[in-house]
Amino acid sequence: MLSLRQRALLGGTASGALSVGVGTLAVFSFINARVSDRFDTALLDRHTQLVVGLSVTTHDPDALRDLMFDPAYGTPYSGRYWQVSNSEGEIFTSASLFDGVIAEPPGTPDVTTLWNTRGPENEALRGAYQKITYEDGTVWGVSVAESQAQLVAERHTAQQSLLPVFALVGLIGVVGSLLLTSIILTPLRKLRSDVAHRWDRDEDLKPGDYPEEVSPLVEDLNQLLRRNREIVSGSRRQAADLAHALKTPTAIMRNELLLLSEAGGSTETAVEALDRIDAQLGRSLARMRALNTADLTHSRTDLSHSIDRLARLFTTMAEREGKSLEIERDPGLWVRMDAQDIEEVLGNLLDNAVKWCKSKVRLTAGRTRNGIEVVIDDDGPGIPQDAHREALRSGGRLDTSVSGSGLGLAIAVDLLKAYDSRLDLGASNSLGGLECRIVIPKGTNAHPASG
C-alpha cells in the first residue's frame, strides 16, 4: 500500500501537472490571439496604405511600386506582397511576387476582408482584400498579403520564452506539495514519537496536543493502550489467583502425605506426582506471563534499581549460608522490560548461583556496543558444555526440571525470549564455575525519560 507521503507526492504532482498544463494552454491561447491581432492590424495598415496609394495612381498603377517603398515589396518572395487588379483583368503586383499572383477571396467582397491563402511556392499567406470603386469610376481589387511564417515564428518565440516559467511553476508546485505533506504529517510524526515515549513516561497521550482531525485517533490509542495494560494485569491477576488456588491445596496434600509417611505409610509415588504437579504449575504460570508480557506492556524498568533490590535479598541469603555475593553495575541502566519479568530472570539465576556456588557469586552489569549485558558468575561446579543446550531448552521435559535442577533457567530463557533477548551459558574465567550471560539488545534497552 502506498504511504501517505507517496500518496501526497503523487496527488500533488498530478494536480500540479494539471494546473500547469491548463495554465499553459490558456496563456498560449492568449498569446496566439495577441500575436494574430497585432499581425492582422499591421496587415490592415499596409492594406490602407495600398488603397491610398492606388487612389492617386489609378491611371498609372505601375507607379505603385515607387509609392510602396517598403524594401520587402522589392525583394522576390520576401513574404510581403501587394496586388491590385482592375475590372479589365489587368493585375499589378509588388516586385516581391515576381511572376506570381495572389488569389482573391471568393465573392470579391467590397469590405476589407482578412483570409488565409497560398502564395508563391505554395507559401501560406494571410491576406487582406477589398473591392473598391474609386472616384474616377474605376473598380479595383486591392490585396496585401504577408507570409504566416513570421506569425508562426513570433508565436513560437513567445511560447519558448514562457516554457521555463511554467516549468519553474510546476517545480514549485511539486516542492510545495512535499512541504505541505511534511506539514500535514508533522502531527502523525509527533504521535509516533509520543507513543514511543509514552512507554517511558507511563502516562496517557494528550489529545489537546494534536490537531482536531488527529485527536480522536489519540483518544482511541489511549483507550487501546489502557486496554492492553488491563489485559496484561488481568491475566497476571488470574495467574496469581490460579497459583493461589492450586498451590495452597497442594501444600495441604503434601503435609497430609508427610503425616502419612511419618505414620509408616508409603507416599513416595504420591510425593513424586505432587512434585511434578508443582513443577508443571510453576512452568505453566511462567509461560503464561512470558506469552502475555512483551507485546502488550513495553514497560520501562530501571535495571540498576532492580539489581539493587535483588542484591539486598540474595546478599542476606548468601551470608546465611556463609557465602558472598559481589555486585558491580553501571548506574542508570534502563531496559524496556517489565520489572517483574527482569527481576524473575535475575532472581532465578542468582538463586541457582547462590545454591550451587562454593563460596562466591558475582553479578556484573553494564552497557556494551550492542546493548546491555548482565553476567552472573559463580565458583560452583558449573554445567558441562554438552549439557548447556539441554539446560536452556525451552519446553524441556518437566520431570528433569524439578526445583533446583533447571526450571529456573528454562523460565529465564522463556522470559528473555519474549523480549528478543537471550541467555548464554559458559564457563566463568574468573571464578571457575558457571557463567550466565544475559544479552539485552539495543531497542530492548531504554534511556531515561529525559532523553
Binding site: A240, D241, A243, H244, L246, K247, T248, P249, T250, A251, I252, R254, N255, E256, L258, L274, D278, G282, R309, L310, R312, L313, A339, Q340, E343, E344, L346, G347, N348, D351
Partner: protein, 219 residues
Amino acid sequence: MRVLLAEDEPHLCEQIKKLLNAEGRVVDIVNSGLEALHLGATEPYDMIILDIGLPERDGISVLREWRSAGIKTPVLILTARDGWSERVDGLDAGADDYMTKPFHMPELAARVRAILRRQSGQLNPVVEMGNVVLDTRNGRVTADGVPIDLTAQELAVLTYLAHNVGRMISRTELSEHIYEYDGDRDSNTIAVFITRLRKKLGPDLITTIRGRGYMIDSA
C-alpha cells in the same frame, strides 16, 4: 511462644497449628487481612505467619501498616506468590522471612524456630538450662539426660521462659504468650504450671521473684 497465623485456607491453618503446637507454640488463627491487622497490632505475639492473598486486605499492606505503627513483631510471609519481585516487595515491606507454597512442613517449622531464636538471641535450637535441656526443634525436654513428659501448657511456659533466660517474666506477660486469644487467661493457673514444672524438672530451675514474676537464671 505465641504465634499469629493469618491464612484463609482452614485445612492449612489446622496443619500448621498442629505442627507448632507440637513444639510448644500457641497459635491464633485469623482468616482475613482486617482481622490480622487488628490482632497483630493489639496482641503481644512472638511472631506472625502472614499470607499475602488474604480476603478484605492483602498481607503486604497489613505488614506495612504494622511497621509504620512501630510494631516490630517478626513476620514470616507464607504465600503462593513465588515471584522474586514479590519476595523482595515482602521483605522490603518489613518481613523477616518469605516462604512460598507449596512448602515442606519441616522447613516451615525450622524457619519459625530460626525467627524465634533470632528474636530472643538464642542461636542454638537446643537450650541448656543447667541439667535441663529443651530441644526447640521437637519440644523434647530432658533432665539429667532423662526424657520428661510435659503437657502442652507446661511446654509452652517452659519454652517462653527458655527463650527469655535471664529476664524476669511477669505472670501477665507469661499468660499473654502461652494462651490463645480465646483461651481462659487466669494468671493464677500460671502458678500451677510453675509448680508442676518444678516438680518434674527440679525446684531450682525457675526462680520466683515475689510479687513480680518468674525467671530462669542465665548462669
